[in-house]
């Protein structure tokens, strides 16, 4: 990429930054007819939500049976109204988008720009550079790739890289290097073509310093991080495929994550993905993301990452296999899970029906500041 902004506070804000820059790009050329952004149906929910926030209409593009974008369907919706396509790569199915070159070429030929949701950069470092492939913008999540832990939901940071066309529109302030080698921030109003600010100050600096330290510590071995993450995901997928208790919808190599399904298991035993996930808790594992992507029935999206040892990977596979056996032999044990957590399954319907979102003093005697 030609330039990067570190300002966005998370991936979703990075997406908004990217799509607003694309909007500014088309407007700067007087091209006001481009009101649509194409989003594959397997995309993360932030992609269509971002599209709306940036004032575009989302046009959903169906996936082909191989998990990639359906090229014919893509061609059918592509046109003079297309501002951009947002492609998650690797996709939320954990697959490298097989027709990525064609997609980028087609959208460019139609006058639109190509945005890559690079939240999952951790799968492809050293193997694929979105800028070289022709993407015009991408965000990446430092909280998925550069070691920032999630504190139960954040903080992270969502830097955005852009190709030459979008550099003039980068958020302000940029950090500029002066001829004498010193650095300064852009002054307010210094670059009128900018889309403006996305937040106060300059970004989630503390998080970015951590990411920088992680990058320095790995150097060119960052490629090894991706290799190990991909190797671990494929190994785990292979173990489950060999066992056969769960459906593995896509046979080809996955990247950092893969989809497994409890589809057959559900049909044969009545045990659903939700039950499997809850039972994993009893085996000492945090369940994977479930029922996502929305396009896959009874989905489990399993991402081992590069940091789990082979012993842990094997233990996780063994647990899933054991749960499938339980589903046939002692289904109530699975249905009632978890049995070892501080609480059992929750009444989520009651929580939504009559929301209790804050503590309320009961008697008035707890009035916080009596004087």
């Amino acid at each position: 990429m030609a330039a990067v902004t570190l300002q966005p506070a998370a991936g979703a804000q990075g997406e908004l930054t990217g799509i607003l820059m694309i909007r500014a790009y088309h407007r700067s050329r007087g091209d006001l007819e481009r009101t649509e952004v194409l989003v594959p149906d397997s995309a993360h929910g932030t992609n269509p939500a971002t599209t709306s926030m940036a004032g575009f209409r989302t046009v959903n593009v169906p996936s082909a049976p191989d998990g990639g974008v359906d090229l014919d369907a893509f061609r059918a919706v592509l046109g003079p109204r297309t501002a951009a396509v947002m492609i998650t790569n690797p996709s939320t199915l954990g697959l490298f988008e097989p027709r990525i070159g064609e997609l980028i070429e087609l959208v460019h030929a139609a006058g639109g720009l190509a945005y890559m949701d690079g939240a999952n950069l951790n799968a492809i470092m050293g193997r694929f550079k979105p800028g070289e492939a022709g993407f015009d913008a991408m965000h990446f999540n430092v909280h998925k790739t550069f070691s920032t832990p999630h504190g139960g939901g954040g903080p992270g940071a969502g830097p955005v890289g852009v190709g030459p066309k979008l550099v003039p529109f980068l958020p302000t302030p940029r950090v500029l290097r002066e001829p004498d080698g010193t650095f300064r921030l852009e002054r307010p109003g210094e670059r009128p073509s900018s889309i403006g600010r996305l937040r106060s100050f300059v970004g989630n600096t503390g998080v970015l310093v951590r990411a920088y330290a992680y990058i320095l510590a790995h150097g060119r071995d960052l490629a090894l991080v991706s290799e190990d993450a991909v190797l671990a995901a494929n190994y785990l997928k292979h173990r489950l495929a060999v066992d056969g208790s769960y459906d593995i919808p896509f046979e080809r190599p996955c990247k950092h994550e893969f989809v497994a399904q409890a589809k057959t298991l559900h049909r044969e035993t009545g045990i659903r993905t939700l039950d499997v996930a809850k039972r994993l808790i009893d085996y000492g594992f945090h369940p994977p993301t479930i029922y996502f992507p929305l396009t896959v029935e009874e989905a489990m999206l399993i991402e081992p990452t590069e940091t789990e040892s082979l012993e842990t990977l094997d233990a996780f596979a063994d647990a899933l296999v054991a749960i499938a056996r339980e589903a046939r032999e002692t289904p109530d044990l699975v249905r009632g899970a978890p049995h070892t957590a501080p609480v059992r399954r929750l009444d989520e319907a009651a929580a939504a029906r009559k929301p209790n979102l804050r503590w309320q003093p009961l008697t008035g005697r707890e009035t916080p500041c009596p004087d």
Binding site: A9, A10, L20, R23, H44, P48, A49, T50, S52, M53, A54, G55, G126, R127, E132, A133, N141, H150, G151, G152, G153, G154, P155, R187, P188, I195, R197, R199, S200, F201, V202, N204, T205, G206, Y212, I215, L216, H218, G219, R220, V225, V230, L231, A232, H238, R239, P253, K278, E306, L310, V343, R344, L346, A351, A352, P355, L357, R358, W359, P368
Partner: protein, 470 residues
Amino acid sequence: MGYAPHTHDDRRRMLEALGIESVDALFADIPPELRSSPLRLSPPLPEQSVAARLERLAARNRTDLASFLGAGAYRHWTPPLVDQILLRGEWYTAYTPYQPEVSQGTLQSIYEFQSLIAELTGLDVVSASHYDGAAATAEAALMACRASGRDRILVSRAVHPQYRETLRTYAAGAGVAVDEVPVVGEGPAAGTTDRTALERALADSARPPAGLIAAQPNFFGLLEPMAELGAAIHAAGGLFVAVVEPVSLAVLAPPGAYGADIAAGEGQPLGIPLSYGGPYLGLLACTNALVRQIPGRLVGQTTDLDGRRAFVMTLRAREQDIRRERAASNICTNQALLALAAAVYLAALGPHGLRDVAAGSAARAAALERALTEVGVERLFPGPYFDEFVVRVPEAPAVHRRLLDHGVLAGLPLALVEPDDPLLADGLLVCATEVTTDEEIELFAWALGEVLGAAAPRRQPTTAGAGGGR
């Protein structure tokens, strides 16, 4: 130094199981013509070299100054227990507490955060964090538009300039018009929102406003007549958005009490260290009537199958992962760990402690004003303020630079952020909080007197206030 745990033997066993020679086979699906050029990065660095390199960079930041800088982020004393609790690994585990059975600690901490901020703001619904005060303010504006079905927002020019810039960015995407309401130029209300101009803006019936955004205290540190501003926008059928500073809420009226429908603000003063702008904490709260419009996570109390009290994310149908293009916002990752810091800070201080911090800050700011008056430097705006105020200093940016040589970070010259506003050309925004020492104030006043060539007070102070704190 890497952090990958696999041994060569582990890798070989995995490759063997997969029946392949090398991991290259797993990347064969990347079209050959699109495969990457090599990473132009240096070899891995040992951890101590990384630390040394970052320490060298850090040393080029001046942290020895007596700081009077506020302008949106504030120095306060943080009890060490806040960081101790934050360091516990249990908080770092899961990405999002989607599995409530194993996330009760995180979920309860979020519920307590919501409760504490609700108590402070007087508003019942609190979202479990946004990116920062500016983004939360922009989200509040979009909320007002959704709730009212209108597409024009009024914002006082006494709202933080970076918040207004952020608002404009978000509004451009959403097709929302942003009209700024000027501030009063002179007289007792100088520096606060101009209510005559507001009435004029409200009278534009062609495009009725979705809401009005005003800040308390405002960017210049001044107190605004929030009840009157709220009444004016309500009369025009719009919502009132209050941008608040949370510590001040221990002594000022809460937004819920003066009729605000939404409160937004920067939560950094609540136990979060200054860190060049982030990670901080976006606060967003609203009345019960707006609960389905608020973006971001909400945690609710419920029971488990055995009737035990338990906590869970709720009203999820507002969120992007379910609603997609019809979601209230695209927010997903938030600032949860910082929300935890705020909750621990508030719980540790309690209502009396927080009031001490607020009153202490106001008292130190008053002491600062007295010291600056002694060297002939007057306030630009006369109205009441909280812990921050503007003084008139001709050529403020140059004076600010020269004060650095005296070891003083003299707040913010307003010309740097509002270059086009003649009213602010000589304005210097300065701040003091409960951690500002007498020595720091003396140094500032003495040095400012020196730089301005005014009659200096008795003697040069002996101690500089290296970074403040205790």
